[in-house]
Symmetry: C2
Subunit: 221 residues, 2 copies
């Protein structure tokens, strides 16, 4: 057990180093980078597609797609939306790490990008432990997942910069105590910036788009 713990620590340390290198590269090119995490099926890809639609055209966005299996369902959708996209197949691994992201960064033309979204593997546990070098951590929770998720998966909520509550269009059909959910979030991450949205109808995206625009402007200064 002790040996295992040491190996895990060494893996995390070397990951931190690679994450710092990724960050330096992103900063040098003034690309604002977001690590987008969520459960399977919380709507990460349709959230990205709505974001692509609503961002002002002068912001050039790229996407890194993390998938545990070698399928291109998500990256095809984003490519169809006309965006540069790199797919990472983790080969069954349950999270992206800084090394995988570093390899993807080599393939993207960072000189033309303003914003980079990394769609992490669908998982509420493992991605929270691996720094990638991104500037902001964003979690997409979704109404059908239920209102107890902050209590059950606290680690991922602790390190967030923004929380998206997706699929608000389903609120009429599902028992979801928004107060209970938000109390849990407040306990773990006081004052966390939160945007309830529907990626299906587009409702609620203004606040999120404004936040992204502001961040892109800040990094350019």
């Amino acid at each position: 057990m002790k040996q295992r713990v040491e190996i895990v620590k060494r893996i995390l340390d070397s990951n931190e180093q690679l994450a710092r290198q990724n960050r330096e590269k992103l900063d040098a090119h003034k690309v604002f980078c977001i690590n987008l995490m969520a459960s399977p099926g919380a709507g990460k890809t349709s959230f990205i597609l709505q974001t692509i639609n609503r961002l002002p055209k002068h912001i050039c966005l790229g996407v890194i797609e993390g998938d545990t299996a070698p399928v291109t369902i998500d990256s095809d959708k984003i490519m169809q939306a006309g965006m540069p996209v790199m797919q990472i197949n983790t080969g069954g691994e349950c999270h992206l790490d800084a090394n995988m992201v570093g390899l993807a960064l080599e393939e993207l033309d960072l000189r033309v990008l303003d914003l980079l979204l990394i769609e992490n593997v669908g998982n509420l546990i493992c991605p929270a432990a691996f720094a990638l070098g991104n500037h902001a951590n964003v979690l997409i929770a979704s109404i059908p997942e239920g209102d107890d998720k902050p209590y059950k998966y606290p680690n991922i909520y602790r390190n967030l910069d923004v929380l998206i509550i997706n699929k608000t269009d389903l609120l009429p059909y599902i028992e979801f105590r928004m107060d209970y959910f938000q109390q849990g979030v407040e306990m773990l991450n006081p004052g966390l910036l939160t945007f309830p949205v529907s990626s299906k109808t587009g409702e609620g995206f203004e606040g999120w788009i404004n936040w992204v625009e502001e961040k892109v402007h800040q990094i350019r200064r």
Copy 2:
């Protein structure tokens, strides 16, 4: 990297050994044991509660609850339903393993149980890699997660004995191509026994309950 792969292999080998010990113990007590896996929020706990309600009273059921955080939300609900329940807090780990389950088995009175449900941590990736000693693997997929999950998380579908498709009550409000979903499942696990259900309304539970009863009778023979 080579060292990491070897360590992972040794962890999995030793897990297999402990899983075999768990299985022997369950067989000796004629307890049929199910490993219940799902994404966060697919409705594992409400599925267990419906199962408790609908099982014939002569079947004595116990539950092992796996949670990544030290909260008792799920185990409280099951205890309120009058069932023996053991909670395992994985301390942030993303799956249960055979060692954790072995410790829980020591705390349960296996002499009185006929059926044991293990609620694994909400995760579609890591739990698929760790044998626990159970007799059957059951996955709960849910309608709001989307119809592409078999394509994106193939490993967990390959080793299933039963697939539950939960939250069918939400079908009118969500685009979910059942054909596309089931084609993916058929490719990975031909002929897989599948029960579409709603844990909210109780619809579709007969087939599942019959299957469980049959398995409990078989192991008693």
